[in-house]
Subunit: 355 residues, 2 copies
Amino acid sequence: MENNSTSDSYKGLACPIPISEYPTITLAHGGGGKLSHQLIEKLFVPQFHNEYLNRLHDGAVIDVEHGRIAFSTDSYVVDPIIFPGGDIGKLAVTGTINDLAMCGARPLYLSVGLIIEEGFPMEELWKIILTMKRAADESGVRIITGDTKVVDHGKADKIFINTSGIGIIPDGVNIDPQRATVGDKIILSGSIAEHGIAIMSQREGLAFETPVNSDCAALDKLVHKMLDTSKEIHVLRDPTRGGLASALIEVAQKANKGIWIEETAIPVQEAVKGACELLGLDPLYVANEGKLVAFVAQQDAAKVLSCMKSHPLGKNAVIIGEVVDDHPGFVVMQSSIGGKRIVDMLSGEQLPRIC
Amino acid sequence: MENNSTSDSYKGLACPIPISEYPTITLAHGGGGKLSHQLIEKLFVPQFHNEYLNRLHDGAVIDVEHGRIAFSTDSYVVDPIIFPGGDIGKLAVTGTINDLAMCGARPLYLSVGLIIEEGFPMEELWKIILTMKRAADESGVRIITGDTKVVDHGKADKIFINTSGIGIIPDGVNIDPQRATVGDKIILSGSIAEHGIAIMSQREGLAFETPVNSDCAALDKLVHKMLDTSKEIHVLRDPTRGGLASALIEVAQKANKGIWIEETAIPVQEAVKGACELLGLDPLYVANEGKLVAFVAQQDAAKVLSCMKSHPLGKNAVIIGEVVDDHPGFVVMQSSIGGKRIVDMLSGEQLPRIC
């Protein structure tokens, strides 16, 4: 995992719009006139270049084969927009890629809707475009349609990004929270709570001995490796807002099955543990942006686990629990000090604007 | 065209979340915990009820036939959020329906991404949900996936809505700005500049003798009637931001063809004319949200025009010009006082946050 969101190959690319002439985004950049067109044709199209986007119609037209497609949307309002391990652009692309991957789909196309605050630096927009391009390129996903709005200064906070995505679900893949089955092993792809802690420490100006980086990453390749290994993967979830706890509770409720997990099995980095204690947070509820949980039929659990461990994003994968006959709709955790407790859904908000 | 965005059949439906208990949106409504779930399960799902949305996965899964699909996105940041003839919810649904229709597609599925300012009244959100539901129902479009973010008070302006959409393009339909052909007649579906003037008059507190309502409407049914009538419709555009002028200039540039239009042929309501004079605006550049321009092969123009006139949203349709051999890439207008002038793209912004 790299510490910086801008890779060397994209670094140093000069902004195609002269910063000296247009140092910041103005309302006119969203007005539909000359400056809007300049933004689209200089900043966006050459970077995201592909046969669909280049036509610049009101929408993109794509050919699909008969089959199932997944469709997902997410708006990103993360604060700060640049954080250890990523930025809002990388998050917006990988986040929607992950939502599609959690449906078992191969992500193919994204739309990007930008809402920019008047006065936002052109150079920062350019950097965000580059991280979006890089993240899309790495997953082989094409950004094929978009929209830019500019609102007056003080009416938005820097930049908000919506991405919506389309992916194709391969034949034989059937991922659905309702498929969680008694006996399924629950595999977590790695240590939790890094994204939330990276954001919070940046926001609160905390410095740790070992800096915590966001785990922000696209999980599509890991997922497809897993799906190639086993047809008995029943549920996939990326535990983002609300953390691992909320993701598991949602599955328990939708499947109306009990979930049992073991606290000591759940990996948490030491630095993250320390930060959580300092901030009064429970890592179970802190957002991740590059982790997944998979519910896998018992007989296939070992081979899926081993497949995950062979991928960089799953090298710390571990079985954390299973689906049980008892307490349908509830998640029960065997705690590290020996007791059992019901893992409840958060009643208030814990971390605003984490994604 | 109705004057109000909330139809009688949806009026009086009580908000399913008790307003006395939850009068406003809080950060917790976007936090992924209990209040987030309440919002989704009480406010959104029962209204937009359909087999796809109800599964509440990270994305929606849909079956498609082999063919071409259109994919489009738009964020709506209109200010004020309620205006004569509509509100941000109606605009967000019809706007993306129209973008799909302008690709020749039959709109089928929408995603909705909400960014809400902390403190936004629950009751207003409920009304917006109802207008979205109504607009989607009227076009037979299903809202199948969504996302809600809440940002702290003062970090957004009330509510921003992104909608992305998927539609199927029927066989034999091939709409593309580059298909504009010398001789094509340019048909405008009705009078222009109403949406922009409705917004501006609301914003500036102007009162006119005859109030101007936004033309905000879904054009999909009109478009499909047209496409059933002729296979020789080459280009479709809805002249939104930047108005009719910008839409025509974009086509001229993309097709590298000349466009000639006649000013006197372009219908403008008297009240809109008056408001434009008062506000110093040229109606050619003012946004529409329920109008389209069609480029139709000469031999089919009369029958397409007559088909349009038989539809409520096209009853004032008129031929305003044609594609010509001269001045490729430019729009030239025969003005009402006899001269000719090049219609230029706006260099500054005219009307911020019009959609």
